[in-house]
């Protein structure tokens, strides 16, 4: 029995490969993600292990707030602790650590590195103790005075800086010029993970990137014969409150874990797309096996007649699927390793230089890739295999027909039920506000896709008759034949189209969602922001503009109101999150945030403003005390003094700048909002503001329109990435169409030969296959766009409370998607059409 399976496989090597390809891409995607994640984390682990190797104990603030992005925030430790630790018996060497924001400017005054892509621009103090200094000097020497800096080799190379040159650095103290005294690498890397590094002498570093009198951490080297644990115990004995002590080992592990956490979002994001690719691939596998089984009906019937049991026939199809799956898994794994390198290159192109050499392929990755390829393929082949097992022996004796039977009604009902369940889960996730909304939405979308795929055959006939009929009228007999062929087996047509539906559905959804988001941002900013100018720091939350900039702008005669906007990590009512701080009295007049209760006039240092949704959810009202914890000052009590209804600018809650200054060591404005004095010229005011901002090249002065555009423009960046990843799903679907057509053509060899004999030209043949493909592709696209439209509408209206005030379906973009899908259909038909046209007519007529 199994011998026939292998014979079948061998006889159709090419089909086997194209079938496997459908799963291969998804597997490759997944394997690539795992490989790159392992590579990054292994490299960072090694880097941190190296960098922290000399540390036997680490002292740091015990207060921490873990926000979603960036490193966790901690309270600093007092400088005086360093001297105290130095006196301990067990400590051989001790040194304080300072780290913070420092942005290099190149010789054209442009920012070095790519803070916009998230690569940090870091400033540290130079550690004198060799064991505690992870940097290797490749040129020059350490910084020794206030005007000196050591720079990373990447910056030296890109900016053309050498020892002795002057380099400008932006810090919280503003812009300063420094003499380069040395050039360093970190773990052999010029610029690990794309981060730029500025190293100052310790006191200077405290002024520029830290806080005078404090350190972020204190690193200690143990004396001869002192264990890490003993050292920690000794330090703990003298440590003040608000400080924790870790062994070197714990500290290394902790640093590594933080990197892993940071990576996990990135991994999940990529794995979601791998999942989509695999989901689409499973449709193709399902379809291919169905066709293969249908084509082999006679042969299977013969096997049954000769005594093969149902189980044996079922088993042989499953075995075939397993082999296809294993092949897909192996190829996918190999491709995935290549993909990981490509991804790394692409990220390097974006300025995120990933450290490390060879890709790390773990056993886990290999097993996951193989298992996924196999499981997906076998699962997708289950139904076709059952169908194969159910072939009655009698079929072998009867003449088989490629015509499909009428669609069973229960399938339509099942499709309706499944779609309803999917939409219900989607709706529950969106409106029911369960804790794990994302899971419900994702699962709902998945189930909806399956439901629509089940319903698709019912829709295929009217669609093909409508659209296909129209094309046939315009394009003559080949198109009419194409229409008939697409209609011949509506199940096959719709299974093929369904694969495309998923990709197009997601593309359509994202397009609609993005357009709605942009339109909503436009509207809310137009409605809410009543000022005239915005200065965007351009540093994306890391660092920003020192407070003096806002003060200088406020002093301009053309400017009336000014408010900076600062962000900081905080624990609000026990939840690790962040707060926004504004100059409340000015901001209340710069923006219409819709204050519904309370007043911004006497908003003080312990006042708290909250959005009405927060008020409702938490049951807070005016006068409710709320505890907010800060890493620098610990728990503080605030009072709800303002409740507002528009969150476009303020977010869910805000405090006053005075409160921010009282509770945070570092002060940066991420944005500055300003309005003009009555009668002042916008152009002139802008000119003056630009002059003030001039030393901060990353910062940009925007009028209201530019501000709106820039805010909405951030969405386009993300959109590009999402589209790129969804392209994989579409490519798989195109392979599926091509595969199905190739199989159908094989099935119709005879008929095609006849057509050629009675006078169909090769060109007409190609055109006919092409139209069939286009009809399938268009059907999938229309289904997809419909589903995408429903998803888009559902998500946007569910988020109406979050500021999604506008639902927008961008017609022109959706039309472009439809046209691209038609083009995809043409591309999918190329190979099958060529094969059909080249068909040996005589052989075709004489077959059977």
């Amino acid at each position: 029995m199994f011998r026939t399976t292998f014979k079948n496989l061998r006889a159709r090597k090419r089909r086997l490969l194209t079938t496997a390809l459908a799963v291969t891409i998804g597997v490759a995607f997944m394997a690539g993600t795992l490989v790159i994640a392992d590579t990054i984390s292994r490299t960072f682990d090694d880097l941190f292990a190296d960098a922290t190797e000399g540390i036997d104990a680490a002292v740091r603030g015990s207060q921490s707030i873990d926000v979603d992005f960036g490193p966790e925030a901690r309270n600093p430790v007092p400088e005086t602790l360093v001297a105290q630790i130095a006196e301990l018996d067990g400590a051989a060497a001790v040194e304080g650590q300072v780290s913070g924001y420092a942005q290099f400017l190149d010789k054209d005054d442009e920012p070095v590195g790519n803070p916009g892509t998230g690569a940090p621009t870091l400033g540290f103090n130079w550690n004198e103790v060799p064991e505690l200094n992870p940097f290797e000097l490749t040129d020059g020497g350490p910084p020794s005075g206030a005007g000196e800096v050591v720079i990373d080799r990447g910056t030296a190379r890109d900016g053309g800086f050498a020892v002795g040159d002057t380099i400008a650095v932006l810090t919280q103290a503003g812009r300063g010029d420094f003499t380069v005294t040395g050039i360093v690498t970190f773990g052999g890397q010029d610029r690990p993970a794309g981060a730029t590094t500025a190293l100052f002498e310790t006191t200077t570093a405290q002024d520029l990137v830290g806080e005078p009198g404090t350190f972020q951490e204190i690193a200690v080297v143990a004396g001869e014969g002192v264990s890490e644990e003993d050292l920690v115990t000794q330090i703990q004995a003298i440590a003040p409150a608000g400080v924790e002590v870790l062994t070197g080992e714990q500290y290394t592990e902790d640093s590594q874990n933080q990197v892993q956490e940071g990576l996990s979002f990135f991994n999940t994001f990529l794995l979601v797309f791998a999942g989509i690719a695999l989901f689409v691939g499973s449709f193709i596998i399902y379809n291919t096996f169905n066709i293969l089984v249908a084509q082999r009906t006679g042969e299977l019937g013969l096997l049954r007649a000769l005594g093969a049991s149902r189980r044996q026939v079922f088993g042989s199809v499953i075995l075939e699927a397993t082999i296809v799956g294993v092949i897909a898994g192996v190829i996918g794994l190999v491709l995935g390793i290549g993909l990981a390198s490509l991804l790394k290159l692409a990220m390097a192109g974006l300025g995120i230089e990933l450290p490390g050499g060879a890709p790390v392929v773990t056993v886990r990755t290999a097993i996951t890739a193989l298992a996924t390829g196999m499981v997906i393929t076998v699962l997708a082949a289950l139904v076709p295999a059952r169908r194969a097992g159910a072939v009655p022996p009698l079929v072998a004796l009867r003449q088989r027909s490629v015509e499909d039977r009428a669609l069973p009604r229960r399938r339509t009902i099942a499709g309706g039920v499944v779609t309803a369940i999917g939409l219900a889960s989607l709706g529950y996730g969106l409106w029911g506000e369960p804790g794990n909304a994302i899971q419900f939405v994702g699962l709902g979308a998945l189930v909806t896709f399956i439901g629509v795929a089940l319903l698709a055959p019912v829709l295929a006939s009217p669609f093909v008759k409508g659209v296909g009929g129209l094309i046939a009228k315009l394009r003559g007999t080949p198109a009419a034949l194409a229409e008939k062929n697409a209609l011949r087996n509506p199940r096959r047509t719709s299974a093929t189209a369904s694969a495309l539906m998923i990709g197009v559905g997601l593309v359509g959804f994202i397009t609609i969602f993005a357009a709605s988001t942009k339109a909503s941002i436009d509207k809310t900013i137009d409605d809410a922001f009543t000022g005239d100018l915005v200065v965007a720091s351009g540093t994306f939350g890391f660092g920003g503009l020192p407070p003096e900039v806002a003060d200088e702008i406020a002093a301009l005669p053309e400017i009336d109101l000014v408010s900076g906007m600062r962000f900081g990590p905080a624990r609000v009512d026990g939840e690790d999150t962040g707060v926004v701080a504004v100059n409340t009295d000015q901001m209340a007049r710069l923006a219409d945030i819709g204050i519904s209760e309370g007043s911004a006039d006497d908003f003080g240092v312990s006042s708290f403003g909250i959005h009405e949704d927060v008020a409702e959810e938490k049951g807070w009202e005016l006068g409710t005390p709320v505890t907010i914890e800060f890493v620098d000052t610990g728990a503080q009590t605030f009072t709800v003094d303002v409740i507002y209804s528009e969150n476009a600018l303020a977010g869910p809650w805000f405090i006053d700048t005075a409160a921010f200054e009282a509770n945070y060591a570092q002060q940066f404005d991420a944005q500055i909002y300003a309005s003009l004095t009555e009668g002042a010229s916008l152009a002139k005011a802008r000119e003056s503001v630009e002059e003030i901002v001039d030393p901060y090249p990353a910062a940009e002065v925007q009028d209201q329109e530019e501000y709106t555009e820039a805010t909405a423009g951030q969405i386009d960046q993300l959109l590009g990435l999402v589209y790129l990843l969804l392209v994989f799903a579409v490519i798989i679907a195109v392979i599926g169409i091509s595969n199905t057509l190739a199989l159908s053509i094989y099935e119709r060899t005879h008929e095609l030969g006849l057509l050629r004999a009675v006078g169909m030209t090769r060109q007409q043949m190609r055109s006919s296959i092409r139209w069939e493909s286009v009809m399938i592709a268009l059907f999938g696209t229309i289904l997809g766009l419909t589903v995408g439209l429903v998803f888009g509408w559902a998500v946007v209206s569910a988020l109406a409370d979050e500021g999604f005030s506008v639902f927008q379906a961008p017609v022109s973009q959706l039309v472009v998607i439809a046209l691209l899908a038609a083009l995809a259909g043409v591309i999918a038909s190329l190979r099958p059409a060529r094969r059909a046209a080249k068909l040996d007519m005589l052989e075709a007529i004489m077959t059977e």
Binding site: T477, L755, G759, L842
Partner: protein
């Protein structure tokens, strides 16, 4: 869409006497399959003329080359050497595209099985060659053909809803609809019972007698061959006999001797 083939450039060489009457002919037709030691000469220098408005049958044992001869005459296959003429057109000189057009404009086909496109109705199958050529069917003629083959009631049916005999009659109707110069029939009754077969053969004879078409039919059935006016016997790629006015008995006798050759 339809392109006329410039026959003036394709001149006949010799055989002037036959030229007026010949619907199709071959001149030293050779067809070799395979190469070197495995080569098979399916056609071994055949010279044959098929007269206009005549019903000719080609007979011979399996492997005699009768199907190959027909395929070459119909432009479905090409010769290794020699010439095939259709009227005044030498097929060997036509491009693939011209050959296709020649087939749909000047030739009609009735195969043994799988004659019809399953997704098209009977009527659509009949007009298929005309549709492919974007030619408008002559309504009167079409109605007449349909009436002749007796399919009036079943035109909207698809092939799978028709009996074997009905399917072959649709195929004959298709071959007649475009008024081709030559109708090639390859074992047209091979899959039919006797009475359905007789109907199809009557129709082919009618095409010759009433409508002046030329019919060339490959068959191994002596009864089928007896419907023709002339039988050409093939063996080992050569013509071994040419019989006028065949009857089943004479054909059977002759076949016995051919088989012995």
């Amino acid at each position: 869409m339809s392109t006329s083939i410039d026959v003036s450039t394709v001149t006949s060489e010799g055989h002037d006497g036959a030229r007026q009457l010949a619907a199709a002919r071959t001149h030293r037709a050779v067809k070799v399959y395979g190469s070197a030691e495995t080569a098979v000469r399916a056609l071994d220098g055949i010279d044959v003329v098929f007269d206009r408005a005549m019903f000719t049958a080609i007979m011979g044992p399996s492997g005699s080359g009768k199907s190959t001869l027909m395929h070459c005459l119909a432009g479905l296959d090409d010769l290794t050497s020699g010439e095939v003429w259709l009227g005044e057109t030498q097929l060997g000189r036509l491009s693939e595209k011209q050959l296709t057009r020649t087939r749909r404009e000047k030739l009609g086909f009735v195969f043994q099985a799988f004659n019809l496109v399953p997704s098209l109705t009977a009527l659509e199958n009949i007009t298929l060659p005309l549709d492919l050529a974007s030619r408008r069917p002559d309504k009167t003629w079409l109605d007449h053909v349909i009436e002749t083959v007796g399919l009036g009631q079943r035109l909207a049916h698809r092939p799978c809803e028709l009996s074997g005999g009905q399917q072959q009659r649709v195929a004959v109707a298709r071959a007649l609809a475009s008024r081709p110069e030559v109708i090639f029939a390859d074992e047209p009754t091979g899959n039919l019972d006797t009475s359905s077969g007789a109907e199809v053969l009557d129709l082919l004879r009618l095409a010759v007698r009433e409508y002046g078409r030329t019919v060339v039919m490959v068959t191994h059935d002596p009864v089928a061959a007896s419907y023709s006016e002339r039988v050409v016997f093939l063996a080992d790629g050569k013509i071994v006999d040419d019989m006028a006015g065949p009857t089943p008995e004479r054909v059977i006798d002759r076949m016995k001797s051919v088989g012995e050759v």
